[in-house]
């Protein structure tokens, strides 16, 4: 697995610091940069888990028809035109005419999709060859299929039964709401939020409470037999209908429909091929007892998609606004974090040894003492008890140069232990887990990243960048690397255009295991000249000095957390060194 850098969005917890990266839940707080947004008003990162989403338009993903929101509701978020899905493989179905009676196969297939064809049209799946004639669905015209199917859907048994249920309950509710409004006392006592004297409430509710077996006197219900009727009748009748609810008579009784009963059990008992039974996903949306068999599945209308508008959850400013047209993939407003935060990529040089085997590798391995065996382990893993360099490449998206400072977040436990310590003290498992399995060192001082500019502007600036380094490093890596050796793995390694590569080092404890994953605070200082980047100063000679021509009030700092995941530690006993 390649090393990754994800960015923190603080929406999940109120704490300012991100959760420790070794918790599994922390993965929900970190996101890849390209999924994040940036609110300029709040000056904060927003993620897909916290932005509020509104629908700015609906469209069918198949025919790309924009559906007005008024009809979305009536069509139940489905395409109301000719778009259907195969119930078996979810492929899009196409409308085909019946075979003309006697024409040659060749000619009929060429004109099949077109308008000519024999009247009984049906839906056909090009992938699994299912066609809707199998379930008895054919069409007279090749257009407006959904409309033709609508009639059967409207008279679907579940919706009819549902309406009947509503009619069944409405008189009852009407009666009870009437009684509640006329007789004031019981209703107020039962409504949980009316403030009455608790004593009267208690008394009235005690009076009004239902005694099992004794029907409540309720004149508005027109209870047959009246108030005295309950006691006088035979035992069976008395208990038959105690809840004062008239018996509901189903339109279609499940006893008659038979699904799920003995017939289906018989079908299952003599089943030969499991595929004859529809899968769970194919059945679970249907609320009506239907056949188990997959050959009875009906074509599905294609669900609509929406074009969402995304807003900052706190200031309501729009972060994402797509263009209205379904065919367009552009945005009217697009405030993505990638335009504001430096992009960071991580990689492990030792993992890339096989790719570029020349000078770099040899210099690294010779200079740093321990990793002599490193050449053997070509795979990008890290062995416990060793030290590895890693590189972070930061790319500046801003039109201004920035100064970046990196800091590893201190773990809540005593951090930064040397590997010797861990090895010395740990015999018990507890101790091992308590020790941080690795320690990370990063350049502590701020380093500059040049401004983003169009590609052609970089050519002649190279020297300028080289000159004004002023910091720990020179930018040509190969020369210095050999001379300075180990110190050079930590620090700025390379600067090129708006990208700066810094090196870090991770020391893995002998008993270390798990992932090398740490939180890193990135703070960058930029010159805030307000929304409009007024100066054309990409070619500015010294963009990175804090003592820039325009000084303190113009500088702004933004900090954000990232998690760097370098990979898995291979326990030491697997590959014993020396």
């Amino acid at each position: 697995m390649a090393p990754s850098v994800n960015y923190h969005c603080p929406c999940l917890s109120s704490a300012a610091t991100p959760p420790p990266p070794n918790l599994p839940s922390s993965s929900y707080s970190f996101h890849p940069l390209h999924t994040l947004y940036f609110c300029e008003e709040c000056d904060a990162v927003r993620c897909n888990r916290c932005v509020s989403v509104e629908v700015s338009g609906y469209y069918c993903p198949n025919c790309l028809f924009e559906v007005p929101s008024a009809s979305v509701r009536a069509e139940k978020n489905r395409c109301a035109r000719n778009c259907f899905q195969c119930p078996h493989c979810r492929n899009t179905l196409s409308v085909v005419p019946s075979d003309p009676p006697d024409a040659g196969d060749l000619t009929s297939s060429t004109i099949q999709i077109g308008s000519i064809g024999e009247p009984p049209f049906f839906l056909y799946c090009n992938y699994c060859r299912w066609d809707s004639a199998e379930v008895g669905i054919t069409f007279e015209k090749p257009t407006g299929l959904a409309l033709q199917l609508q009639k059967t859907e409207d008279s679907a048994p579940d919706s009819l039964e549902f309406e009947r249920l509503k009619e069944h309950f409405e008189p009852f509710l009407r009666a009870s709401s009437l009684s509640a409004s006329t007789s004031h006392l019981p209703s107020t006592s039962h409504a949980p939020h009316t403030h009455t004297n608790p004593i009267t409430a208690a008394a009235s509710s005690a009076l009004a409470r239902d005694i099992p077996g004794v029907g409540k006197y309720n004149p508005s219900l027109g209870r047959s037999g009246g108030p005295g009727g309950g006691g006088g009748r035979s035992g069976r009748d008395r208990t038959a209908n105690k809840d004062e609810m008239p018996e509901y008579r189903s339109r279609v009784q499940i006893g008659g429909a038979g699904s799920g009963g003995d017939e289906d059990a018989d079908l299952m008992r003599h089943l030969e091929v499991p595929a004859e039974i529809a899968r769970l996903e194919q059945r679970w949306v249907s609320s009506w007892a239907t056949s188990l068999q997959s050959k009875h599945l009906k074509p599905l209308r294609i669900p609509l998609h929406s074009k969402p508008t995304k807003r900052c959850p706190s200031c309501r400013h729009i972060l994402i606004k797509p263009e209205q047209k379904a065919q367009s993939v552009k945005y009217k407003i697009k405030l993505v974090a990638a335009n504001y935060l430096p992009a960071i990529t991580a990689h492990l040089p030792h993992a890339q040894i096989p790719k570029r085997p020349v000078a770099l590798k040899s210099s690294v391995t010779s200079s740093t003492g321990p990793p002599a065996a490193e050449e053997d382990t070509a795979e990008p893993t890290m062995v416990a008890g060793k030290t590895y360099p890693f590189q972070l490449a930061l790319t500046n998206p801003l039109y201004d140069p920035i100064h970046v400072r990196l800091a590893v977040q201190r773990a809540p436990l005593p951090p930064q232990l040397q590997s010797q310590d861990t090895a010395g003290t740990t015999d018990k498992e507890k101790e091992k887990t308590r020790r941080p399995p690795f320690a990370v060192s990063l350049p502590t001082s701020a380093f500059p990243i040049a401004a983003f500019a169009e590609a052609w502007e970089y050519e002649d600036e190279e020297e300028l960048f080289d000159e004004d380094g002023g910091l720990v490093d020179k930018s040509s890596p190969a020369k210095d690397r050999a001379g300075k050796g180990k110190t050079k793995t930590v620090g700025v390694l390379e600067k090129k255009a708006n990208c700066t590569v810094v090196g870090g080092e991770v020391v893995i404890g002998r008993e270390g295991r798990g992932d090398v994953k740490f939180n890193m605070l990135v703070s960058y200082t930029y010159r805030s000249d307000d929304p409009a980047p007024s100066d054309g100063g990409e070619g500015d000679v010294e963009p990175r000095s804090p003592t820039a021509p325009k000084a303190a009030p113009e500088m702004k700092t933004f900090s954000f957390f990232t998690v760097v995941d370098l990979g898995v530690i291979v326990p030491k006993d697997e590959t014993k060194v020396e």
């Binding site: 917890s13 888990r49 989403v53 006893g255 799920g260 003995d262």
Partner: protein, 616 residues
């Protein structure tokens, strides 16, 4: 004040409920006949969310079926359900577990609104179909996410059992919800859930899956894919069945086997028949369907299930260890585990009682041995298909009643006057009853439990008579019969949504007229979706339960846990879940209405419209 908009808005606010009230009272208006488009954009429709531990059903009120059904378990990490019956011990583990759950819930809830329903959550009231045993912390989590993250205007929680009853047009009945983690029986009278009489058992979908997996590991056969496509090169190894590798029985495969292969056969022969069988005579007890060794294997499986992550792998490992040590011929195994012995007894018993065909099931071969071509073949024996679900009907355990016993236990607890009414209006909902034959079998089990002949007391009593003198003049105590007091109810037992009410009358019990008037008379909604349909109905009738408005929530929570926390507050990491305010109504912490019986719900029926008025 300079804001004329404020009074206007205030006028408009009560105006919204009034048409609603009129609509519900003045029935003759054409308002409801054109209900299909009674609101153009449908913002009046509520969102009905039925959040199970494994499967969620979502949709709009007033519709007959959910818009979308989704599997919410984190299957990438081998989880089979969002939450489990157990929580991790200790602060650290539990907090982490809660954070995980909250993050996943947030994912799913956002997906509900943005991917499935494609609607703006800020304009939609939500009705949550709430299982009676939905843990409070999950309930609060859901409310917190809906209010803070999605900013819905109001939430109401409605009991799933009650909603299921509404879905069949009733307000009184005994509802068994047989879901994934638990089966819960709850009696309801006149729309009041009798929560103190609730009974529950962990025999449900998850247990069935584990049982099926264990059976398949022992008795299934696996044919690896051909090693090469060349016809002559087929090694004999490919044609011989192998033991089922545990890795192929992934959760998805198990679910598909459950769905496409399994069903529930008719009741096994009565206990005497089984006691005579040589396999089981060792441990003959009164209810012989459960030999005591049952506990061991079930425990060994169950004890792993709460383990935090990858419980499935652990499960399978624990089961597969013996199967790995024993070779293909199980009989030659040097040490036969108790569980295995038990499973073999089961097999003998089940095989005799099954006529189902064996099925060949195509499975992806385990990743380790990707030598072959294509897919392997798993043979699912017919008896496993038919009798795998027997585990749900195995009773006799005090802690884990069978699904039939849990109904009877609930019946035992309800007041005597209600028993007959409730016994003849049993409703079975949930995903597990979707197994073909489940409900008729459940009916048969209920009858059988109530009519099972008592063990003849003769030997013991005669001995007692001879030996003990102090009891000589007293009548012998009758043998203990747990269900003695409800035995007379046997003719009245009726399951409302029994798909074959007539076939199950072959149990010899003459059904009472009331029972036959009720059995199978429910509308033909599927058991799994019934609570959702009831919720949709309740939403359409505007009786969705007590509403909690967002203002109230914000007030109670102090509006602090807004989505964007104060960035600089360094102090709190874990205070957030603790701040759960007690404004969510729940029966388990019901402040009893003074003087009233512990049933606050039914009065909400009339109060509902007022609630809506206040909230709107």
């Amino acid at each position: 004040m300079s804001a004329p908009g404020t009074p206007r808005a205030r006028v408009a606010e009560p105006a919204t409920p009034i048409p609603a009230r009129i609509g519900s009272t003045v029935q003759s208006s054409p308002h409801y006949t054109t209900t299909r488009r009674h609101s153009l954009y449908g913002t009046e429709d509520r969102i009905i969310l039925d959040p199970g531990s494994r499967i969620w059903k979502v949709g709009f009120s007033g519709e007959g079926r959910p818009r979308d059904v989704m599997l919410v378990a984190d299957s990438q990490h081998g989880e089979t359900s969002l939450w489990k019956l157990t929580r991790l011990e200790g602060d650290v583990g539990m907090e982490e577990q809660e954070r995980m759950l909250e993050a996943m819930l947030q994912d799913r809830l956002r997906a509900v609104f943005h991917d499935s329903l494609l609607t703006d959550p800020k304009s939609r009231k939500v009705i949550i179909v709430e299982n009676a045993l939905l843990p409070l912390y999950i309930k609060e989590m859901i409310a917190r996410i809906l209010f803070n993250n999605l900013q819905v205007p109001s939430i109401s929680f409605a009991s799933s059992h009650l909603l299921a009853l509404l879905g069949v047009g009733r307000i009184t009945g005994l509802v068994l919800d047989c879901g994934y983690l638990e089966s819960t029986a709850l009696p309801l009278f006149a729309s009041r859930p009798l929560f103190p009489n609730l009974r529950t058992t962990p025999l449900a979908g998850a247990r069935l899956t584990n049982h099926l997996r264990a059976l398949l590991l022992y008795f299934g056969e696996y044919y690896p894919p051909l090693t090469s496509l060349g016809g002559s090169a087929n090694t004999p190894a490919a044609s011989h069945p192998k033991r089922v590798p545990a890795e192929i029985l992934t959760d998805a495969v198990m679910e598909e086997i459950k769905m496409r292969c399994c069903f529930v056969g008719p009741a096994l022969d009565d206990a005497e028949n089984l006691t005579g069988s040589p396999a089981l005579e060792a441990d003959s007890s009164v209810e012989l369907e459960v030999p005591p060794s049952d506990m061991s294997i079930e425990d060994s499986e169950a004890s792993h299930s709460p383990s935090h992550r990858a419980s499935m792998d652990v499960d399978m490992a624990s089961v597969s260890v013996p199967s790995g040590s024993t070779s293909l011929s199980v009989d030659a195994a040097p040490h036969v585990r108790q569980g295995e012995a038990y499973l073999r007894k089961l097999r003998k018993m089940y095989e005799r009682n099954s006529t189902a065909t064996n099925l060949a099931f195509k499975v992806v071969p385990p990743p380790g041995s990707q030598t072959g071509t294509g897919r392997g073949t798993l043979i699912v024996p017919g008896w496993i298909r038919e009798r795998g679900a027997e585990v749900l009907f195995d009773g006799g355990d005090v802690d884990e009643s069978s699904v039939a016993e849990v109904i009877l236990d609930a019946l035992l607890k309800v007041p005597v006057d209600l028993r007959k009414t409730l016994a003849s209006s049993i409703l079975v909902v949930g995903g597990t009853p979707m197994l073909p034959g489940f409900i008729p079998r459940l009916h048969a089990e209920l009858i059988q439990a109530l009519t099972r002949p008592l063990p003849s007391p003769s030997p013991r009593t005669s001995r007692a008579r001879n030996t003990s003198t102090r009891n000589a003049n007293k009548p012998n105590p009758p043998p203990y019969d747990h269900y003695a007091s409800i035995r007379p109810l046997a003719p009245h037992i009726a399951i409302l949504n029994n798909p074959s009410p007539d076939s199950s009358s072959a149990t010899g019990v003459v059904r009472s007229s009331r029972a036959s008037a009720h059995a199978g008379k429910a509308p033909a909604f599927t058991p799994a979706v019934l609570p959702w349909v009831g919720g949709s109905l309740a939403g359409a009738l505007k009786i969705g339960g007590e509403e909690i408005a967002r203002e109230k929530w914000d007030e109670a929570t102090g509006g602090q846990d807004d989505e964007i926390g104060p960035d600089e507050s360094m102090e709190v990491v874990d205070e957030r879940p603790r701040r759960a305010p007690h404004i969510l109504p729940d029966w388990s912490r019901a402040p009893l209405l003074p003087g009233a019986p512990p049933a606050p719900r039914p009065q909400q029926l009339p109060a509902m419209s007022q609630q809506a008025a206040v909230g709107a």
